[in-house]
Symmetry: C2
Subunit: 308 residues, 2 copies
């Protein structure tokens, strides 16, 4: 029952110091989602063992090149590998024309693309499958930009096996009880659901916030998230410059994590003017101790509260 | 007086085993030219110390993604670095629309682009500056494709310093003599140019042939070239498949090198079905001993025949 984030690229616009531009892969119970797709993302997938053929949805935060220039290569490689299954691409408007015109000249794909435009001004449900829901997170950048909140769907409650035996509950009644129903015994006595079941483990969640200036409403949209990736393009030495370019400092990222009550903060999208990342980590941890540096190839897991 | 080729990517369409898709940088006397621009080319440039800001011409062989998907990222990064100087892009038709539409959505550039379309059916001069001439090489692939032959311009002849002294030749007459003129002494005697000068070192040359099926006319177009890069997508085990896909085997690449009388053959554009490259090298060397494997990051130099 995996919930696992793999960082494919963690630098900002200029790739530098072995750090590729933004891209991440999220694996929730073997359902695979791609988040942004900077240049070289497919190369990183093969280096880091991400099963690219399993990806069915791509979520693009905005149309700056360092978040999207790897997309044509990723799609073309899937076609070379014989993919037939459609690919859904969620992004701000404009991406469809860019990709389709490019592919028109460089050769078509073996599978259909479906583009879904995001309203970057609204926080709303944009996607769901049997496993997760994905929400847009309006960000404050120089072009229309959306972060993403991924949350596992609520699971059914867990039956307590000893109660099945004690009350001789037939198999056909179990789905209703797991959904929250009480059970009525043959003698008419009602056994309350709370006695028969345990609550399911809490749904796990991940919020991706890049690129954005410090934007306090994000904290409430990402309230209680297990993992928070928040861009930290700059350290405090460039705090003045950060909002002018639509970016944040590591300390501001930590401030959002603290206000949101996040489980863990991951930093990333470092300006290529910084070779060493120690200052990012130190400044963020002063505000939010459970911060880690995002680095290409690093994997972050959220375990279930308990086995189910 | 450098003539130096750096391989940025040497795999075919699917990047694999640490090999990036096709891209190369040629440095002739500190003039820098980019040849193809597969995904990740800019990342390789920074890894291998190629001075990307010095590049003024890009030569694109054809519009398959593995030769061109790094171009938007490369150009955008130059813009981020503040470039103002124009960039010239030589390619088969179609690239301009693809790049301009993509850039329209992902943000403009700080410098002008100039696209020059190549007639992929003709072997002709397509570019010259003060240092080199570049010729198109018609290739046989599934889409319009051109290789490139880069050749240093003829240098002026070298004065023999002892003759300047012996004949008291004034400084103002030297340029004409270096261009081939005889010198007439005050007494009317004519000193033939051959006595006054030495021939310049031979112009150095490099031919890039990718992607192509075996195509014998290439050998005469690249006659006597110092360095020949010829694609070798397959080994002999797939010799039948090679022409069907518009590609060559290593042995066929070697055959072209042998017929052309090339100085050295560089292999590349390996299919990702081959992890080890030993068979490529062995099969090519049976036909053309001075063959080397192209590998990402490898640098090939052509020294001048002698110092000038």
């Amino acid at each position: 029952m995996r919930f696992e984030l793999t960082l494919l690229g963690t630098n900002s616009a200029l790739p530098a110091f072995g750090r590729f531009p933004s891209s991440q892969a999220l694996n929730v119970q073997e359902n695979h989602y791609l988040i942004d797709c900077g240049e070289g993302a497919q190369i990183r997938m093969s280096e880091f063992g991400v099963r690219r053929s399993r990806i069915r949805q791509v979520f693009i935060s905005h149309l700056h090149g360092d978040h999207v220039y790897g997309l044509t290569g990723f799609l073309s490689s899937l076609a070379l590998l014989g993919r037939e299954e459609p690919m859904e691409i969620y992004s701000p408007p404009g991406l469809e024309e860019a990709i389709r015109v490019f592919l028109k000249h460089t050769g078509g794909l073996s599978f259909p693309l479906r583009f879904i435009e995001i309203d970057t001004g609204r926080h709303q449900l944009i996607f769901e499958d049997g496993i997760i829901e994905a929400y847009s997170l309006p960000l404050v950048h120089r072009v229309p930009t959306s972060g993403f909140l991924f949350r596992e769907k609520e699971r059914p409650r867990n039956m307590r096996p000893e109660k099945i035996e004690a009350y001789h509950i037939p198999y056909r009644d179990i789905p209703a009880i797991k959904s929250g129903a009480d059970y009525v015994l043959p003698n008419g006595r009602r056994v309350p659901n709370e006695e028969l079941t345990l609550p399911p483990p809490a749904p796990r969640s991940y919020a991706y916030c890049s690129d954005t200036a410090f934007h306090e409403p994000l904290a409430s949209m990402a309230r209680g998230v297990n993992l928070l990736y928040h861009e930290s393009t700059f350290c405090e030495d460039l705090r003045e410059q950060a909002p002018l370019t639509g970016h944040s400092t590591a300390r501001q990222a930590a401030e959002i994590a603290r206000l949101a009550g996040a489980g863990k903060l991951i930093l990333g999208h470092y300006s290529s003017r910084y070779k060493s990342l120690e200052t990012f980590l130190r400044e963020a941890r002063e505000v939010f101790p459970n911060t880690e540096l995002g680095l290409d190839g690093k994997v972050f897991e959220v375990p279930l509260e308990r086995e189910i």
